[in-house]
């Protein structure tokens, strides 16, 4: 909000949000900075990947993919109804080609835990939905980010090229 008042552009605010997220946060290695879409410019958030419960040192599927619970910390999300005929925000795990969407759970401002993300690389997307139990996304995207492993997919998101490292 302060950034809006000082007249920073959306891009400028995004940049600062990313830097602050990566420098301030608990510096979890598997934090996903979430970027707001123009429909909710004041929204921001971080999704932290935390190993799902497991008897072992890491939680994985039978074929070796890591299993994460996702701890989402979000702020600035308006009531869903302000965006249209929606009543909830739903988190999705999405393949990088946008082909497969897996519903992980609902989130609100503050802290929410959804689970379980099991893809090697994925986009983490939050949409406004009319049905909080929806298995298919239908509403607008409000926040989105890329799993750290997604840097394998997109070289340009590498921190080297964002001046963070």
């Amino acid at each position: 909000m302060i950034l809006e008042k000082v007249g920073l552009s959306i891009g400028g605010r995004l940049f600062i949000a990313v830097v602050v997220t990566m420098l301030a946060g608990p510096t979890g290695p598997f934090d996903i900075p979430l970027f707001a879409t123009p429909s909710v410019p004041a929204a921001r958030g971080v999704a932290r990947l935390v190993y799902a419960s497991s008897p072992f040192g890491v939680a994985v599927t039978a074929d070796g993919r890591a299993r994460y619970d996702v701890q989402v910390t979000a702020s600035g999300l308006p009531a869903p109804a302000k965006l249209g005929a929606f009543n909830s925000y739903v988190a999705w795990e999405v393949t990088p080609d946008l082909d497969k969407w897996v519903r992980l759970g609902t989130i609100t401002n503050g802290k929410s835990t959804v689970g379980q993300a099991e893809l090697n690389k994925f986009l983490f997307v939050i949409t406004a939905e009319a049905d909080s139990t929806a298995s298919k996304h239908a509403g607008p995207t409000v926040l989105h980010g890329t799993s750290p492993s997604g840097w394998l997919q997109s070289f340009l998101t590498h921190p080297l090229f964002r001046g963070v490292y």
Binding site: F30, Y51, P55, F56, G57, T61, R65, N120, L152, F155
Partner: protein, 601 residues
């Protein structure tokens, strides 16, 4: 974190043109070595028929070298190719380079055909007061049709399975008849410190031809293993390891099963007709540890078990590999995990697979419902560094063949029940008040390097932008091979004092409960998971990344993934000087160990 190698290579080239220098700290004086000249401090059940074991057979369609490219390089006077993953040629900047150590293989000049063929593991059922002679010796092992000089305890691989009742004490007369100094470490046992088998800390190393007498006490039921603590990077993969099963007096300790099997998982790095030599002065493969390309169960390339439909089999799983972490499953058969290193879990749990880091043990019960074949597999996600993609990798390690005849007795009802073990929870209860206390000790896991090839430095600087929490396979064996303990120093750093590795020298009072927080720094030059092992004590993993563990089990080895923070609660009950180290053999050989003194009350 990793990025596509092609793009990385472009940046490497740019950096090279700019005359980039390696930004690393100097490597302090290495840990005093021993062994050949090397680093010291490193630390299936069949009836013994006395007949030679059948030669390991490799199915014709599972040649582990298929599709692999070999990068020929001179190595200490011999030409030795390093097997590269399919589609992954050696990096141009590394061609022609060799490690900065000379090479070593067991039994130089010995004709393997002059040696006895290795035998399968026998079972040594011992009772309190018994004595066992354990001899480390040269044996002939045949892998992929080629005979090699390797090691074995009493001529067996794995060594004899020692099965004893809880609270027994046995005498083991160890005889070293191999061509390296050695000792025996009794991994996981809370035994008398002077028999822990760590050179320069609890005993002198046993020279070739020498002997040492151990008194081995077994205070806790569970599955344990023994191995040398001198140049484990060589002696372990060459065959010196064996299991110990400690039986509880409680006949209901585990659920009833139709069969029991002890499986020791290992891997071996071979070229078509040669073993890849080891570093003589210090370990090579110091970045990732030596990751083999031939996967073995109980020393064999294909494990086989017969069962009846409906049989419940209890498997005691032990990872004795230098570096590889496994993800084990049995062809979709229903599986529950019931115990780990030093105790049962508080609560049994259904699991799709078992993640088994080096030195860890898990006890699982598996029911084979239907007739047919069940593949024992290691299934992981490799990373293709050229494409920047994950690629599933599945290795079939063996087969369980299930006949049409029904299991007798039928334990399906007992198998269907997940037990809670109140005795374990009662044992842990007095420690719960310490779960949330501030850490008494903090360690950061990191590394330093110097004088690595420039191409390695440049690639790693970019490649580690993305790190997998667990590196399941060695995607860049050329870089790994060229790194030795002369160039790489793995570090345990005490956050409070800044002291590192053997300078740490912690002292705690016997009977104290020590909370140790370990952080695996993801921003080191080469972040990698570390299985951290504490000798002579027991510990609980009370939380991972701040999330409390709700199903506890006593452990002696805990996997610390890259970037994770893990809280361990140590029951410092056993006085003495105890080693704390990474159980990736090459990491320990490159310095990653410290001593915790438990001072007597």
């Amino acid at each position: 974190m990793r990025v596509p190698i092609a793009l990385a290579a472009l940046l490497c080239a740019a950096l090279t043109a700019a005359g980039a220098q390696q930004p690393v700290a100097p490597v302090p004086k290495p840990v005093p070595p021993s062994g050949i000249t090397g680093t010291k401090g490193m630390p299936g059940m069949q009836a013994d028929t006395g007949k030679p074991a059948p030669v390991a057979k490799v199915p014709a369609d599972t040649n582990p070298m298929d599709g692999m490219q070999m990068s020929g390089m001179g190595h200490g006077g011999m030409s030795m190719p390093i097997p590269m993953p399919p589609g992954m040629p050696m990096m141009p900047g590394l061609v022609g380079l060799v490690p900065s150590v000379s090479s070593f293989l067991p039994g130089a000049g010995v004709d393997p055909m002059s040696l006895p063929a290795v035998k399968a593991s026998s079972v040594a059922r011992l009772k309190d007061g018994d004595t066992l002679d354990l001899t480390a010796m040269l044996v002939r092992r045949t892998v992929r049709g080629h005979a090699f000089v390797m090691y074995g305890f009493n001529g067996e691989v794995p060594g004899p399975l020692i099965r004893v009742p809880q609270n027994a004490t046995i005498t083991v007369r160890f005889h070293n008849r191999i061509d390296l100094p050695s000792t025996v470490h009794w991994h996981g046992l809370r035994l008398d410190n002077k028999y822990d088998g760590v050179p320069d800390i609890t005993q002198a190393e046993v020279a070739p031809g020498g002997s040492f007498v151990y008194k081995v006490h077994f205070p806790d039921a569970g599955v344990y293993w023994y191995h040398p603590h001198v140049r484990e990077d060589i002696e372990q993969p060459m065959g010196l390891f064996g299991n110990m099963l400690v039986d509880s007096p409680d006949h209901n300790y585990y659920s009833p099963v139709n069969q029991e099997q002890a499986l020791m998982f290992d891997d071996l790095l071979v070229h078509a007709d040669s073993l890849i030599p080891f570093g003589r002065e210090s370990p090579d493969f110091a970045l990732m540890g030596r990751v083999g390309n031939v996967l073995l169960v109980n020393g064999e390339t294909h494990y086989a078990l017969n069962a009846h439909a409906g049989d419940v089999v209890r498997f005691y799983l032990t990872n004795v590999a230098n570096s590889r972490t496994y993800n084990i499953s049995f062809g979709g058969a229903q599986m529950k995990v019931v115990a780990s290193d030093q105790s049962r879990f508080e609560h049994e749990a259904w699991v799709p697979s078992v993640v088994l880091a080096p030195a860890e043990r898990y006890v699982v019960e598996v029911r084979f419902d239907h007739p047919g074949s069940y593949a024992l597999v290691n299934a992981v996600q490799a990373i293709n560094h050229y494409k920047g993609e994950f690629e599933p990798e599945v290795d079939t390690l063996g087969t369980v063949t299930v006949s049409g005849s029904a299991a007798a007795p039928d334990f399906s009802r007992q198998f269907a029940t997940l037990r809670s073990n109140a005795a374990v929870s009662r044992d842990i209860a007095p420690y719960r008040k310490y779960f949330n206390k501030a850490p008494d000790k903090k360690l950061t896991l990191t590394m330093q390097s110097t004088a690595l090839p420039l191409a390695t430095v440049q690639f790693m600087s970019i490649d580690t932008a993305y790190f997998a929490p667990v590196e399941w396979v060695d995607g860049m064996p050329d870089m790994n091979w060229l790194s030795t303990a002369k160039e790489v120093r793995w570090i345990l750093r005490d956050d409070a004092t800044g002291k590192e590795n053997m300078d740490i020298d912690w002292h705690v009072r016997q009977g104290s409960v020590v909370k140790l927080r370990i952080f695996n720094d993801p921003k080191s030059f080469h972040p990698m998971q570390h299985p951290i092992h504490l000798h002579g004590q027991r510990m609980l993993v009370v939380s991972r990344d701040g999330v409390p563990n709700t199903n506890l089990v006593w452990k002696d080895t805990a996997l610390i993934p890259v970037g994770s923070t893990v809280d361990l609660l140590i029951d410092a009950s056993n006085p003495g000087a105890w080693l704390l180290h990474c159980h990736i053999a090459e990491h320990m050989g490159a310095g990653m160990m410290a001593v915790m003194h438990v001072d007597p009350r």
